[in-house]
Amino acid sequence: MRPVDRAIAVLVAGIGAFALCFVDAARLRATAGPDEVERTRLVARLRLTDLALFTEARYTRHPSQADLHSAFQDHPLALEHFPTGSLIAPPGGLTDPSLRVGAGGKAP
């Protein structure tokens, strides 16, 4: 077997494995379908708004519902207490006030 044939065989195997990733992803998505329906149903039933990822403080447990001063609740220049606070971004409405409802907008 010539070196070029060996190289082609390795590359074909690599491309095959790369394509298999997409096939496997589709398979896992199909398998996870019922679980996802279950999660979505629970979100609708309980009117949930956030993922239960970080439970240490109210503004990390429900970042989308946090009030605008929650990260600095002790005093305005307080440093963040929790490790999550340095890893997750502030809520969208806090960093871009123009996106916040009621900020500069007028009721029609």
């Binding site: 309980l46 239960a52 990822l53 447990r61 916040r100």
Partner: protein, 378 residues
């Protein structure tokens, strides 16, 4: 065409033999290159899958949540407030939500206590989330007591445990009846935590929120879009942090690749000189080096990407888990559903394969156009 193919095959044969002559150096480069692609792919695959998961699951969350603010803080909704919100045109369905936090000194974790709008447990019973079941060693029909903020001990029977599949959204939940909730937190009658709204026409959600903010200046409407945007930004931020940490590794690889690609060794220069002296054309030398760059970068990309896929979706991203997932006392156990973004893969391919293949060519072209005699003597 057949002739062209045969020529390319011979060129690749020669390239592989040339690479084999500097085996350790080239294998080392391939290994570092593969690890770099693996790290970048792991981060992008993981964060994209988590963003998609949040976006899909939270599309079922309420269209608008209305909070009442007092002195910049979230306050309770007083009696009569729901009726005022209900008078706004366009509001289809309105209901007060009852939920709050409870710190459990036993597990040193916060739970979210909540009253479901439908199928609430009967008074004295609770339904718990899977992480809480694990951390407190609970099972169906077990009893559990919580000391309320007023100091009274309240006992509950665990009527059910929420399904494991929902852990990502329900890990720390404790569902209870309205009567139990109000008794536990001494919650004033007629007050609610916030209000969930649904709007008749989905196109009008923003307008309804604006009307609401105008009619009730102390109200803070939070749209579902804002919730989804918050989750998109959380993982953009986290991905950015990981990529910033990885930037040192990327830079080191860049220097290594540039060094390898731009500074030809004396041996390589001599090889090019000999090839030209025995009749190879400049184009052939460049093609040979092009194959070299492509073979190394393509192999590294394919191996790195496949390893990253297996790492993220079959081994739960074990290597980057602490940084990518974050941490909490009650951390949900969840398996991400793979969602591979074609554009992301294409971008990764472009930024890992193309620069290397191109960087190899420039010095070779410079060496290949000089006189063979001077190249061999230098």
């Amino acid at each position: 065409m057949k002739l062209w193919l045969a020529k390319q095959r011979y060129l690749i044969d020669f390239t592989l033999a040339s690479l084999a002559r500097r085996k350790t150096r080239n294998l080392g480069l391939l290994a570092v290159y593969t690890v770099l692609v693996f790290m970048l792919s792991s981060v992008t695959l993981y964060t994209h899958a988590l963003r998609q998961e949040a976006a899909r699951v939270l599309t079922a969350s309420p269209e608008v949540i209305v909070q009442r603010m007092v002195a910049g803080r979230h306050d309770l909704i007083p009696p009569g407030y729901i009726e005022k919100v209900g008078r706004i045109r366009g509001v289809q369905k309105i209901e007060g939500r009852l939920w709050g936090y409870y710190y459990d000194a036993v597990t040193k974790a916060n739970y979210t206590f909540m009253v479901p709008a439908e199928n609430a447990p009967v008074a004295g019973e609770i339904v718990v989330g899977p992480a809480l079941e694990r951390s407190r060693g609970l099972a169906k029909n077990n009893g559990i007591s919580f000391r309320s903020y007023s100091g009274k001990l309240h006992s509950f029977i665990v009527a059910d445990v929420l399904p494991q599949a929902s852990e990502l959204i329900s890990a720390d939940l404790v569902l209870m009846s309205e009567a139990s909730f109000r008794a536990f937190f001494d919650y004033p009658v007629g007050h609610y935590t916030d209000i969930a709204l649904s709007v008749a026409n989905p196109q009008e959600v923003r307008n309804v929120a604006l009307k609401l903010a105008a009619a009730l200046p102390d109200a803070r409407p939070i749209l579902r879009d804002e919730v989804l945007r918050t989750y998109a930004s959380i993982y953009d931020w986290r991905e950015g942090i990981v990529l910033a940490l990885l930037s040192a590794a990327i830079l080191a690889f860049g220097i290594l690749a540039w060094e390898k690609a731009s500074g030809l060794s004396a041996e390589e220069k001599r090889e090019i000189g000999i090839l030209k002296a025995i009749g190879w054309e400049t184009g052939d030398v460049i093609k040979m080096k092009f194959w070299e760059g492509l073979l190394i970068s393509l192999t590294a990309f394919l191996a790195g990407f496949v390893a990253a896929y297996v790492h993220v979706f079959h081994f739960a991203a074990a290597l980057f888990e602490p940084v990518l997932k974050g941490w909490a006392v009650l951390y949900p156990r969840f398996q991400l559903t793979p969602h591979i973004d074609g554009l992301q893969v294409a971008t990764l391919f472009f930024f890992t394969v193309v620069p290397y293949a191109a960087a190899v060519l420039v010095p070779i072209w410079k060496a290949a156009i000089t006189d063979p005699d001077s190249v061999m003597r230098s």
